[in-house]
């Protein structure tokens, strides 16, 4: 009989069995929310509220509900990336009580609601890329013992999070700057890192007399791109494309590209297997390479839809600021732009196409067809 009961228990899905007990009581207890009426919402008041909860009742009744409520309010208080705040929340849990004392307790998730609460807390830490430390490990050990689910979660986090932390080849500081110009510089640096010779310039639209929109422009152009732009035939228009978005953690920066013509593809019509007439050098000591330049696509900037000859982000992302960008590009080493038509195909803010014959700056604003 006992064997039958045990078999039945084992056959049941463990999650069903274990979670039912606390699922029914979930969110049914109305608790006092100490975070709601704080006049100042910062780290100090957040920690103060936690301290108040700890002090008001030695038995810490309703601590699970309190932690869930506190977790939900973290962003509001700006502590969602603060390890100390998470530690303070873990500290709310009573020590020793939840440590399993036999194998059955260890196996069948001792105090599942509390364990799940701690796992959720760790999950939130992970979502916010807050890396736990060994002190937190000690705290969790004191609360749930070494066989607790939160500990397993903690160890997995400690294994993976340092590996993921620096996985991106584009380094960003832990705290992003609040200044949009700095963010734009970072974004443009990231999207132009494909060419190591890229030069990033910061211009002010005020440099162009006729500009309406006074803002900054972060423009990136490499020497290669300048040359590609100088090869643009005068009858083929350049195209300003955008806005495109690039994400820096939670921040979004919009950027625009200036596209030119594409050189023909390298013709691959020779037989790869025929080695009967391989190329050989002239043999003159000191004479290397070619006397002419290739006329086919051979740089990273030459993509299928066009050659990217410059990239920018502006303070307002407006059409006028982009026009100023073209003027500034012309002013700084791209004199060829004075003879080239430029088409603005912006998906926002309007859906129209603007053709701009780029002439001296004073005249050109009048010619813009809105």
């Amino acid at each position: 009989m006992a064997t039958k009961i045990l078999r039945h228990i084992l056959r049941l899905p463990s999650s069903h069995f274990m979670y039912r007990r606390w699922e029914s009581s979930n969110t049914k207890v109305a608790v006092y929310d100490p975070f709601a009426n704080k006049p100042k919402k910062n780290k100090d008041t957040y920690l103060e509220a936690i301290k108040m909860f700890e002090n008001q009742d030695n038995r810490r009744r309703g601590h699970v509900e309190f932690i869930y409520a506190a977790l939900a309010r973290m962003k509001e208080f700006g502590v969602h990336k603060d390890l100390q705040a998470y530690k303070a929340l873990v500290d709310v849990l009573p020590k020793g009580k939840f440590i399993p004392s036999n194998i059955f307790q260890a196996e069948f998730m001792h105090y599942p609601k509390q364990q799940q609460c701690a796992v959720d807390l760790l999950e939130q830490m992970e979502d916010n890329k807050v890396m736990p430390d060994s002190e937190l490990e000690q705290m969790l050990l004191n609360v749930f013992g070494k066989r607790g689910i939160p500990l397993r979660k903690f160890w997995r986090m400690l294994y993976w999070m340092p590996k993921f932390k620096n996985l991106s080849p584009w380094y960003l500081p832990d705290e992003l700057p609040n200044d949009t110009l700095e963010l734009a510089k970072m974004a443009i640096h990231r999207i132009t890192s494909v060419d190591p010779t890229m030069k990033i310039e910061i211009w002010q639209t005020e440099e162009i007399e006729a500009c309406i929109d006074k803002t900054w422009i972060v423009s990136a152009q490499s020497e290669t791109q300048k040359i590609l732009l100088s090869e643009q035939p005068p009858d083929e228009p350049l195209v300003v494309r955008g806005p495109y978005e690039v994400y820096l953690k939670e921040q979004v920066v919009t950027y625009f590209t200036l596209l030119g013509k594409v050189r023909p593809e390298h013709k691959d019509d020779f037989d790869q297997d025929d080695v009967s007439n391989l190329k050989k050098p002239s043999g003159i000591p000191g004479f290397i390479g070619q006397t002419t330049l290739p006329v086919v696509k051979c740089t990273v900037h030459e993509q299928d839809d066009g050659t990217i000859v410059a990239v920018c982000a502006t303070g307002s992302s407006s059409r006028d600021s982009l026009l100023s960008w073209i003027r500034l590009l012309e002013k700084y080493d791209n004199s060829v732009l004075s003879n080239l038509p430029v088409i603005f195909t912006l998906t926002a803010p309007s859906n129209d196409v603007v053709v701009q014959e780029t002439q001296p700056a004073a005249e050109d604003v009048k010619r813009v067809q809105n």
Binding site: P196, D271, Q272, V275, K280, S282, G283, I288, T291
Partner: protein
């Protein structure tokens, strides 16, 4: 006897030929007896006409290119007889002239002017010029010997080397009238010619690699515009220019020509007039200018020799722990190794000079490049090891030696450039011969029978144990049998390496630079091994003084070098992942992109 030989020959076809060799019928050696005996061609001249009295050269008939053939594992065994170009009279006259030069150049008290004077009096400035033009009509063997003698004065030797190459180019390139107009001034040594070939690496994407251009103006005068690397701004200059997009032509710029400005290591031309060397075809330009590689190798080797003598002078009077410093085995080993390099380089240079001087219409471009390649790569490292012995004690002297070596090694062209030239020429030659085979290897499903045959025939090569079928030892002294077998192994591996490369990359092989570099190095070492063995064998056979040391040097050099060649070819066979090229290239790319060392400091931690 002839009947008997014919009968034997008929029986020794195919496999029996190899068997007969193994059981020792050396008297009926089919290959050796039937080998093409060199026919001596004497130049005929008319005794009546004094104008045509010129030095006669006894050249053997044209032979296929030696080192190019090695790329397909074909070895001309006749060349294992080390070349003897000069007869008794010529040797004596050369040694006499060298002795005169030596007296002045070894004497440190002599000034540059005195040295110039002795060069003039011995007609050194007219060495390659014909007798009828009051020159010496010196061949390459003599030129190298003279250059060795002059080498203690580095600047003069360098100048002389450029001058000789330019004189040869002028002789072939100018019309008779143009040549007559300039040759007298050049022969006397009052003015010398500097080679202006190399340009700076393009600094912008829009610049082609080679930019100096010559255009014909309305008056029919050639005008040169551009910039060249050049260390001397006086005298004549021989400038290589592009004309009509991709056609190259050399121009002679006279001293004092308008539009020439000299700036440190660069000379600028601005619509400078030049005399075109129009008689010389584009293909021959490389052959003539290529001689400068041979000269550079000689000068490099002389610098290494000079460094050895300086180190000996330093070590001899000093002691360490109560014993002479010279007893330290590490020092002895370093000096010994340097000697090996000097011996190998010297053998290779004279072997190559012999190829150029001894045969009609020689194709020795590759060999000349290999001479330079060998001493550049080995010489520089050897020199660093040597100069570590006095460390900072003789800093000025060490700096001077090292700087000269560095200029010789990297001046004119880079080591990578030479390696690429060697490998591409070799692979071009191999490609012509192996094209059909490569096509089949690259399309295995279309040629299953061939692939099975290939797998069977290559089984020894795959195991790195080719069957030795060239029998090179028959052309060397019997005591060099093990060394000649090692050379044979290297030669036989070359075809396999070329086959591997071409079947792996197809037409793209010309941009597989890392693998081509290995191939070039392996080929260079094979030339060095060949020359060393041939020289030592000849020296021992004819009874030269210290011939037994030469034999030891040769054996040691070959057995030391075989492991390098083996590894180089194994690396080619293994491919980019096993030989780590893939990773090294990737690391290099990242460093070049970011200009950082990529990794964090060793003290960095992640705190948790």
């Amino acid at each position: 006897m002839n009947i008997a030989r014919t009968l034997c020959v008929k029986q020794l076809n195919g496999i029996s030929r190899t068997i007969s060799r193994k059981i020792g019928f050396t008297a009926t050696n089919y290959e050796a007896t039937n080998a093409v005996q060199p026919k001596i061609q004497e130049e005929k001249f008319d005794f009546e006409d004094l104008q045509v009295i010129e030095r006669t050269e006894q050249r053997k008939p044209k032979i296929p290119p030696f080192m190019k053939d090695v790329f397909v594992s074909v070895f001309q065994r006749d060349l294992l007889a080390y070349p003897e170009i000069l007869d008794k009279e010529e040797t004596e006259s050369m040694e006499k002239r060298a002795e005169t030069l030596d007296k002045v150049f070894q004497d440190k008290t002599k000034s540059k002017e005195e040295r110039r004077n002795v060069l003039k009096s011995t007609k050194m400035y007219a060495a390659p010029v014909n007798w009828t033009r009051n020159g010496l009509a010196a061949n390459q063997t003599e030129s190298i010997r003279y250059l060795e003698t002059v080498s203690p004065d580095f600047e003069l030797a360098h100048e002389l080397s450029d001058h000789w190459v330019a004189l040869r180019a002028l002789q072939h390139g100018l019309t008779a009238e143009q040549y007559a107009a300039v040759i007298d001034e050049l022969s006397t040594g009052d003015a010398t010619v500097t080679l202006c070939i190399k340009e700076r690496i393009a600094e912008r994407l829009a610049q082609p690699d080679f930019r100096t251009t010559a255009t014909l103006d309305a008056q029919g005068v050639w005008r040169i515009t551009g910039e060249k690397m050049c260390t001397r701004g006086d005298g004549f200059m021989l400038v290589l220019c592009k004309v009509e997009a991709d056609h190259l032509k050399a121009f002679l710029v006279h001293p004092g020509a308008t539009g020439v400005t000299f700036d440190g290591n660069f000379v600028h031309f601005q619509k400078t007039t030049g005399t075109p060397l129009s008689q010389i075809p584009n293909a021959d330009l490389g052959k003539i200018f290529g001689i400068s590689r041979l000269h550079a190798a000689t000068l490099c080797r002389c610098q290494l020799k000079y460094a050895i003598s300086k180190i000996v002078e330093y070590v001899k009077p000093r002691s360490f722990s109560g014993k002479p410093l010279a007893e330290l085995s590490t020092i002895r080993a370093i000096v010994g190794e340097s000697l090996l390099h000097v011996y190998a380089s010297e053998s290779t240079e004279y072997f190559t000079a012999g190829l150029i001087d001894g045969y009609v219409d020689p194709d020795a471009e590759l060999e000349m490049a290999m001479c330079r390649n060998y001493i550049n790569s080995r010489g520089l490292f050897s020199l660093i090891n040597l100069l570590e012995i006095p460390a900072l004690e003789q800093e000025e002297e060490c700096k001077k030696i090292f700087d000269r070596m560095r200029i010789l090694a990297s001046g004119g062209e880079s080591l990578d450039g030479i390696n690429t030239f060697i490998a591409l020429n070799g692979i071009h030659h191999a490609g012509k011969i192996m094209a059909e085979e490569i096509k089949q290897i690259r399309n295995p499903l279309m040629h299953p029978a061939f692939i099975i045959k290939k797998a069977l025939s290559n089984r020894h090569q795959v195991k790195d144990d080719p069957k030795l079928t060239l029998h090179l030892s028959e052309h060397l002294h019997p005591t060099l049998k093990p060394a000649s077998d090692q050379l044979e192994y290297c030669v036989l591996r070359m075809r396999f390496a070329c086959e591997t490369l071409m079947s792996r990359h197809g037409m793209e092989v010309s941009v597989a630079y890392m693998e081509l570099k290995r191939l070039a190095e392996a080929a260079t070492l094979i030339l060095a091994m060949t020359s060393v063995l041939a020289r030592a064998s000849r020296a021992y056979c004819i009874g030269l003084r210290n011939a037994e040391i030469e034999m030891k040097l040769a054996t040691c050099f070959v057995s030391k070098t075989i492991s390098e060649v083996r590894q180089l070819i194994l690396d080619i066979d293994n491919g980019e992942f096993l030989n780590h090229d893939r990773f090294k290239v990737e690391f290099g790319r990242k460093v070049l992109d970011t200009n950082t060392v990529l990794v964090e400091r060793p003290t960095s931690r992640v705190f948790w």
